[in-house]
Each structure stands twice: as C-alpha cells, then as structure tokens.
C-alpha cells in the first residue's frame, strides 16, 4: 500500500478486527460478539499525526490498544516498517515495543503510585537495557527537561504533581526510547483547558524536533484540528472517511463526518447545526445494522445502504470514503 505522496508508510493497518466474545451460562458458551473494531485500515507516515475520531464506543481506543499488542486482534494485519507485526515474537516483538509507545488518558492511573518519577521514566530504559546506570539517569534528567519538568524533582512520587505535570511524566516515559510512533489515547481530555494547550504545544514541539509520528485518539474536534495532519473518522468499529485535516473540516464528505463536525459546539450563534441525523440512537456493536452501519441515522439512506456495505475507497480529491451516495 502506497500513500498519496508515494513514500512507503511506517505503519500499515489492514482490516484490523478486535472482537470480544460474549459468554453465557454454566458452559461459558459464546453467544455473540462485541465487534469493537471491525475491519479498520489506515496507514501512518513517519512524523505525521493521524487522528482517530468518533463517538464513545466506536472502537478508537481499542484500535490503539491492539496496535500496542495489549489486546489480541481477532483478524487483520499490522505492518510496521515493512514487517508483519503478527509474526513478531521474542526479540522482534521487543524491538517493536521499543519503537511504538503509548500516552494514556488518565494521568493518575497511568503512573505507579509507589514509584519515584525517576524510576517511572527510567523503566523503559531498564526493561530494554539501554546504556549504563549513569547514562540512564542522565537520560532521565534530559527527558524531564525536554518535557518541561525540573530534573531535581526526580525523587518525588507521582502524586506530588498536578495532572498536567503527571501527563508530562507520561510523555517523558513514552519518549525515553526514541520511538517512531506514539499512540496518544485521549492525552488531554482529563486536563483543564489551559493545561490542555500546554500539553498540545509540547506534543507538536516534540514532533517537530524528533520526527515522531502520532496516532492521536480523541473525541475533541478542536484538539484534533489543532494537532493533526490527517483525520480518520470511525463509526461502529469502522473507518468511514480519511482525509487531510483541512479537507475534513472544510468539506466533510461522509454524512457521519458532517454530523460529527456539525455537532461540535461553535462560538458563533448563527452557526446552527446544518445537518440533522434522522435518528439519534447509536446502534450497538453487538448487533450491527445490515449494509452501511450508519443507515439507521443517515438522512441520505436508501435501500442500497440497507443491503450492501460501502467499502472505503480512494476518491479523486485524495480522500478515502465509505458511502454509496457521496
């Protein structure tokens, strides 16, 4: 798979599926499945930010966790730097984990309350046995400075810091091994707005200086517009549209993208919702609608949408779209 500008992507995800079995009864029989991620495909280039947006429960975080190997994918392929991640075992898996890191949403539960900040940031270096003890400590100090923390606070515990500072510690930990990709799972949604801006600026500075790629998972469209190069919109476990940020925000094509961007609150009172969903109920991921899964809410829906599922296809203007009508 080639990207629009012709360079080989760093990470290619093809038809990724994560299903959770629903078991019932004494015999623990599988009676159904939550299809949290149901055939997601995208690619991520070096040094770019791809945002994954969508409603709660659409599978965006699950996608991120599956990419990190924290959840076992049910199907699909992940290719990293030309190699299939599925085959990764032992040393290959360890080197993949070295190059793909994560920043969590909750700055409280993501840092071990019993560890000092030094140990938290040094853990990646210890696990992968990078350098000598002194070199690791020097690296910790350098990282703390890089993310805007005072290195002399290295002996403090995480609970002695504010939410924003804790998120900086999490970022320092993710940066420790100089990864190629960082999955940011709603990294600012637990923070105050003023602190959000600082963290977002830090992330974009880091990308400029270190060339790291972000897979940015968020439901906050304002944040997404600020930080991303490209945006992928997810609905019920599938990507319905991927396009450049400007194209998505200026000219949303998929009816769901239009609904999502139209629902974001605006400061301009004249800017009312242009687009109305025909139904506000979100179908469940256990029992998905036939055909296009958005047809239950889509004002454009026809019989074709109810019967056959539109595939994500590349359009002339460079965007990928899954819709029969646009």
């Amino acid at each position: 798979m080639q990207t629009a500008d012709g360079s080989a992507p760093l990470l290619t995800v093809n038809g990724l599926k994560v299903h959770f079995a629903i078991r019932k009864g004494v015999l623990n029989r599988v009676v159904g499945a939550v299809r949290a991620v149901d055939g997601v495909s995208f690619s991520l280039r070096r040094g770019e930010t791809l945002s994954l947006v969508g409603e709660s429960g659409c599978g965006k975080s699950t996608t991120g966790l599956a990419l990190l190997g924290l959840l076992k994918p049910t199907g699909g392929q992940v290719e990293f730097d030309g190699q299939t991640v599925r085959d990764f075992r032992g040393a290959a898996l360890k080197s993949y984990r070295k190059r793909v890191q994560i920043i969590f949403q909750d700055p409280f539960s993501s840092l071990n309350p019993r560890h000092r900040v030094r140990d938290i940031i040094r853990a990646p270096l210890d696990i992968h046995q990078v350098g000598t003890r002194a070199e690791r400590d020097a690296r910790v100090a350098e990282l703390m400075e890089r993310v805007g923390l005072r290195p002399d606070q290295a002996n403090n515990f995480a609970h002695q810091f504010s939410g924003g500072q804790r998120q900086r510690i999490g970022i320092a930990r993710a940066l420790a091994l100089n990864p190629d990709i960082i999955v940011c799972d709603e990294p600012v949604s637990a923070l105050d707005v003023s602190v959000q801006a600082q963290i977002l600026n830090l992330l974009s500075d880091l990308q400029r200086d270190l060339g790291v790629a972000f897979l940015f998972i968020s439901h906050d469209l304002g944040v997404v517009e600020y930080l991303s190069h490209r945006v992928a919109v997810m609905y019920l476990g599938k990507i319905v549209e991927i396009a450049d940020k400007t194209a998505i925000f200026a000219n949303p094509s998929h009816p769901y993208t239009e609904l999502l961007i139209g629902s974001a609150p605006s400061l301009d009172p004249r800017n009312r919702h242009q687009f109305k969903a025909s139904n506000d109920d979100i179908p469940s991921a256990t029992n998905k609608p036939s055909g296009c899964s958005f047809h239950t809410r889509c004002p454009l829906a026809t019989d074709a949408c109810r019967e056959s599922e539109p595939q994500l296809s590349l359009r002339d203007d460079g965007r990928s779209l899954a819709c029969h009508h646009r």
């Binding site: 984990r97 969590f104 993501s110 019993r114």
Partner: protein, 280 residues
C-alpha cells in the same frame, strides 16, 4: 505526614506497644527470666505471686513468669515462621492467579478451595499427627492452613491492579511478567498483605496454643503456653492461677497483634493505596 496520623490511632499504638513488649521479653528472655525453665523449688509448690516468684509456681515449684517468657520465644518463633512462609506462598499464588487469569487462575484457586474445604484445626492436627512434633512440623501445619487466605486476598487485589494503566504501560513496554508482578503490582498490594500478616500472627499463636493444649504441640519439657494452660486445668479447683495467667498471656498477645492489624488497616487506607494518596 504519616507519623502524627499513625500516632493518633489508639489501636495501632496500644497494639504496637503490647507486641513490642512481648517481642522484647522473648528476645531478652535469658536476662529477664528469674529462674530456669526446669528449675524446681519443691518448698514453694503452688506458691502465689511474690517477689521471689513474680507469678507464682506450678506443682513442681517451677517459676511461672520464667516459663511464660521462655514460652513466648517458642510461640513467636513458630508464629513468625508460619506467617512469613504463608505470606510468601500466598502472595506468589495470588499474584500469578490474579495476573494470568484463565486456566492458571482456575487451577490455583481450586487448589486453595481444597485446602479451605478441610476444617483448619483438623488439617493441622492431622499434619502434626503424621509428621510428629517439632518446631518446623508445627509451623508447617500452620502454613498449610493459613496460606490460602493470603492467596485469596492477593488475587483479589491483583485483579484490580492489573487493569491499572501503569500495568498496561509496563506491558506495552515489553516488561517481563516477573517485573510486572513484583515491581508494578506487588508494591501496591503490600498494604492488605501487611494488615493480614499482623492479624495472622495472632491467629497463628492461638492455633499453636490450641495444638499444644490438645497435646499435639511441642512435647514437654518445652514450656509452650498452650501446654501450660492445659496442664493448669488439672489443678484448676485449688490453684486456678496457672491456667488463668497462661490463658491471659495468650489472650493479651493475640489482642496486641489484632489491635496492631486493625490500626494498620486504618492507617494504610485501601482507598489511598489504589490512588497513591492522590491529592483530589
């Protein structure tokens, strides 16, 4: 500021004071005991408390104060060995069962259920009866009946902790399970383990005394508390002192450990443990 808060907790302070006193008496038994364990004073049989014999004497004129202090060594040694080993076994089983889940959890928990299914004192009696008396055998009997409780509590704590993001973060980094279990999860599970262990010391002392009382503990002339209590009942009509004092010794010691455990439970608030004393 943990210290002032801990010192304001009455049960913790009283419990710690009692426990510390008993431990110090046991450690310095050779200096504190006024008489030898076997030293008889036939002219002073069944003597009441006096300056010569602080707690009186038994039917052979042996000094009760000295026998109880030497007995503290026996009881504490067995209790500490039993609890330390139970904690180690129970913690490892609980961590592994809770973290790995699935069939590992199923197998380990069914094994603990088997141990829990047999009444504790019967199981302990059976083990001592088979292996014969001796410090290590009595301790082993107590370990066999006690480790399950630690396993269950540690497993429950692990089930909660393994879902924490910092454990996920360690997994994402490629940390080995041993690192995750002992460096990420165990330090956060220590609170409940410490509380349970100090309560467990009390239980172990009672259990050891019960075995001795029933004649399955260490044989005479070892001055165990349980045996002294049981032996005293022979003379309880005329000389109730022997049983009352040795019984009270057991009671006060156990009370001390229980107060200590309760106090620690209050100080090591589990809500604080899960959030690491978060400010909010």
């Amino acid at each position: 500021m943990q210290l002032p808060k801990a010192l304001r907790n009455t049960s913790l302070v009283v419990g710690a004071a009692i426990t510390l006193t008993i431990v110090l008496l046991a450690i310095f038994a050779p200096a504190i005991a006024t008489h030898g364990v076997e030293q008889m004073d036939m002219r002073n049989r069944f003597a009441g408390p006096s300056f010569q014999h602080l707690l009186g004497t038994d039917n052979f004129g042996r000094d009760l104060w000295s026998r109880l202090i030497w007995g503290a060594r026996v009881s504490l040694t067995i209790a500490i060995i039993a609890v330390v080993c139970s904690v180690i076994i129970g913690t490892i089983v609980g961590l592994v069962a809770g973290y790995f889940g699935g069939w590992v959890d199923l197998v380990l928990m069914r094994i603990t259920d088997i141990f829990l299914g047999v009444p504790a004192i019967v199981l302990a009696l059976a083990i001592v009866a088979i292996l014969g008396p001796g410090v290590m055998n009595v301790a082993l009997a107590l370990i066999v009946v006690a480790w399950t409780e630690y396993a269950r509590v540690v497993r429950a704590t692990t089930l909660v902790l393994r879902e924490q993001n910092y454990v996920q973060a360690a997994r994402a980094l490629g940390a080995r399970p041993s690192r995750i279990l002992f460096k990420e999860i165990l330090p956060n599970a220590l609170g409940p383990i410490i509380v349970l262990a100090s309560l467990g010391l009390g239980t172990a002392i009672i259990a050891e005394s019960a075995l001795s009382f029933l004649g399955f503990g260490l044989p005479p002339p070892t001055p165990t508390w349980g045996w002294t209590l049981a032996y005293g009942t022979k003379f309880i009509r005329d000389e109730p002192w022997l049983s009352i004092i040795s019984g009270a010794t057991i009671m006060i010691t156990v009370l001390g450990f229980n107060l200590l455990g309760d106090g620690l439970r209050d100080v090591l608030d589990p809500r604080q443990l899960s959030r690491g004393g978060g400010k909010s």
